[in-house]
């Protein structure tokens, strides 16, 4: 399983209810179901990937994450996962607010745009950055949101929520291996992973 998904999986309490937005081929949900008796649902827009989910025995809905999430009553899930998708969402603030309504906690992971090599590319070459995490040109990239780890921390604070856990990692988009970066993560980590809750539902805070 992808390295960031391994970290996310470790955060999920056994037996909980999980919604995985953009669940792909259902790798994480299938793992959680098997290893942690999680009752999971995935949302995925691609028919081919939905088929793979069903083949794995994963409950899945084909559709657009921003539309599908509206139908759930409040607190339907213990965790809502948005992995490597936030940077592709048109209205991230509205989506995150909605995720915190249907889920008690949300887990968000995204590529960190302030990674040192990206900074250097802009500084020295003056082109929109391209690397293994962000392999697209400016005109065909699905990644329409530029997010840094510091940006996301500030966003969480401003929306009145709390970061329960944060792990910043150095890995590539499909890699099974990676490492946790705790020194200068905004500069040295390629991805940030956050566990966030509403302030009123869970006031405890710990940072890794």
């Amino acid at each position: 399983m992808r390295y960031d998904l391994q970290i996310i999986a470790a955060w999920i309490e056994p037996g909980s209810r999980v919604l995985d937005l953009g669940c792909g081929e259902g790798e994480l949900l299938s793992f959680l179901k098997r290893e942690k008796c999680v009752k999971g649902t995935g949302i995925e827009s691609s028919e081919a990937k939905v088929t793979k989910c069903i083949e794995k025995g994963v409950q899945v809905l084909q559709g657009d994450i921003t539309e599908e999430v509206h139908d759930y009553p409040d607190n339907t899930f213990d965790y809502v996962i948005l992995s490597q998708t936030l940077q592709q969402v048109l209205e991230p603030d509205i989506l995150i607010k909605e995720l915190l309504r249907v889920g008690k906690k949300i887990i968000v992971s995204f590529p960190n745009f302030s990674y040192w090599s990206i900074r250097l590319q802009i500084l020295f070459f003056g082109y929109a950055p391209k690397n293994r995490q962000l392999p697209y040109e400016w005109y065909n990239t699905p990644n329409i949101r530029i997010i840094t780890i510091k940006d996301f921390r500030r966003f969480v604070k401003e929306t009145g929520c709390v970061v329960i856990k944060e792990v910043d990692i150095n890995t590539h988009s499909d890699d099974l291996q990676g490492s946790i970066i705790s020194f200068l993560p905004n500069l040295r980590a390629t991805y940030g992973i956050f566990l966030v809750s509403r302030r009123n539902s869970n006031p405890s805070y710990s940072s890794l």
């Binding site: 009752k39 649902t41 028919e47 939905v50 088929t51 989910c53 069903i54 083949e55 794995k56 025995g57 409950q59 899945v60 809905l61 084909q62 559709g63 139908d71 759930y72 009553p73 339907t76």
Partner: protein
């Protein structure tokens, strides 16, 4: 529907099957229908495939659409020219694997393939019911299926599976008998007909009823309203296809000629095809049954009938794991209708999966051989049967 099934004795098949009958609701215990009318006795034609396991936990009920019947798969005899209507899906190792599951399919109430319907003798007169047959609903059809299962000693269904009007029966099952239904597969179906769907059905019914041979439904001793029924089938058939399917299948190609004939014979292939489908249909289907089953489909409205006009409230009674499949080119029951029912299921916290299969052949796509659909159904059933087994 079964027009799609081709004879293929070399293919894998469940083999020989037998149509059986069960009679229920004899006087004075007639079935009370949704309309309030009483109907009895009722004979149900049904077929079973596969082997019922010891704890009767491997039962799958397949429900059929407008023109289907109990003959879902296999052959009646060694020289039977054609297998059942869903032979591509039901059989050893297929989507619905008869090596693992015990499959039951019965002809619907109001049908003409062995189950009591308008062509059956009215016990009061000894003659066919005709239009004296009471109007039946999808709910009534399901009640009869439930009585059949009671008779067979089956108290739990691993899955109920159906497309189109068969899908309506599956929905009805999940709401009327939730304790019996572990899972449900709904294909190309809707919780209620749109005005468009009712409109096409009404054209079909008007075609039948305005046939000079219709005689207020009492045509069984004389010439039948074949022209009207054929016309109804032609209209229906168009709604089961799609613009894209018809373009690729027929285009504007001419039938057995190089130039326009400047007459009203079937010049185009599509005209010839529809005439052929119509004429073939009248050989096997009763016009009155078309009226009754199409009416039952038009009347079906889950929200109104089970949830005080709210689909969300209606599905509150359901507990089954549900799998909804729609087809991208289905304009009779378009994908938005599947999404709407999925929405109502989600609001009730139901375990629901949904997939829109990209297919160009329109509403009838669910009846056609489709590897993706077979795989999806097979794997979903796998999952449900594993989870049911784990829960024991």
């Amino acid at each position: 529907m079964s027009e799609y099934i081709e004879h293929n004795h070399n293919g894998i098949s469940v083999g020989l099957v037998e149509k059986k009958f069960y009679t229920l609701a004899g006087p004075p215990d007639e079935l009370v229908l949704a309309s309030g009318a009483r109907l009895g006795p009722i004979t149900v034609a049904y077929e079973t495939m596969g082997t019922l396991n010891g704890d009767k936990s491997n039962v799958i009920l397949v429900t059929h659409a407008l023109s289907g019947d109990s003959h879902v798969a296999g052959y009646y005899s060694a020289d039977d020219p054609k297998p059942g209507w869903w032979d591509t899906m039901v059989g050893p190792g297929k989507g619905i694997d008869t090596d693992r599951y015990f499959v039951i399919c019965s002809n619907v109430l109001g049908g003409c393939m062995g189950t009591t319907g308008p062509s059956s003798p009215n016990p009061a007169t000894g003659c066919p019911y005709g239009l004296d047959f009471p109007v039946v609903t999808i709910g009534d059809m399901v009640k009869v299926q439930k009585a059949l299962l009671d008779h067979l000693g089956i108290t739990k269904l691993l899955a109920v599976v159906g497309g189109s009007i068969g899908g309506m029966q599956v929905i009805e099952w999940t709401i009327s008998y939730p304790e019996m239904v572990a899972s449900a597969i709904l294909m190309a179906t809707t919780t209620r007909h749109s005005a468009l769907a009712i409109a096409f059905n009404e054209i079909g019914r008007q075609a039948i009823m305005s046939d000079p041979n219709f005689n207020k439904g009492n045509y069984y001793s004389g010439p039948k309203p074949d022209l009207g029924l054929a016309l109804a089938r032609m209209v229906g058939h168009v709604t089961y296809l799609s613009d894209e399917a018809m373009r690729s299948k027929f285009g504007r190609r001419l039938q057995d000629r190089d130039n326009l004939a400047f007459d009203f014979d079937a010049n185009f292939q599509v005209e010839s095809y529809l005439r052929y489908q119509g004429s073939k249909f009248v050989q096997r289907f009763d016009a009155n049954s078309f009226l009754y089953i199409s009416k039952a489909a038009d009347y079906f409205d889950v929200g109104l009938q089970h949830g005080h006009d709210s689909e969300v409230d209606a599905f509150a009674k359901a507990t089954a794991k549900i799998f909804v499949i729609s087809f991208s080119s289905d304009w009779l029951y378009p994908t938005y209708q599947s999404r709407d029912m999925v929405k109502a299921m989600k609001k009730n916290g139901l375990d629901v999966s949904f997939c829109e299969i990209e297919a160009k052949c329109g509403h009838d796509a669910f009846l056609l051989p489709n590897e993706r659909q077979s795989t999806l159904i097979n794997r979903f059933l796998n999952r449900v049967s594993e989870e049911e087994h784990d829960a024991l």
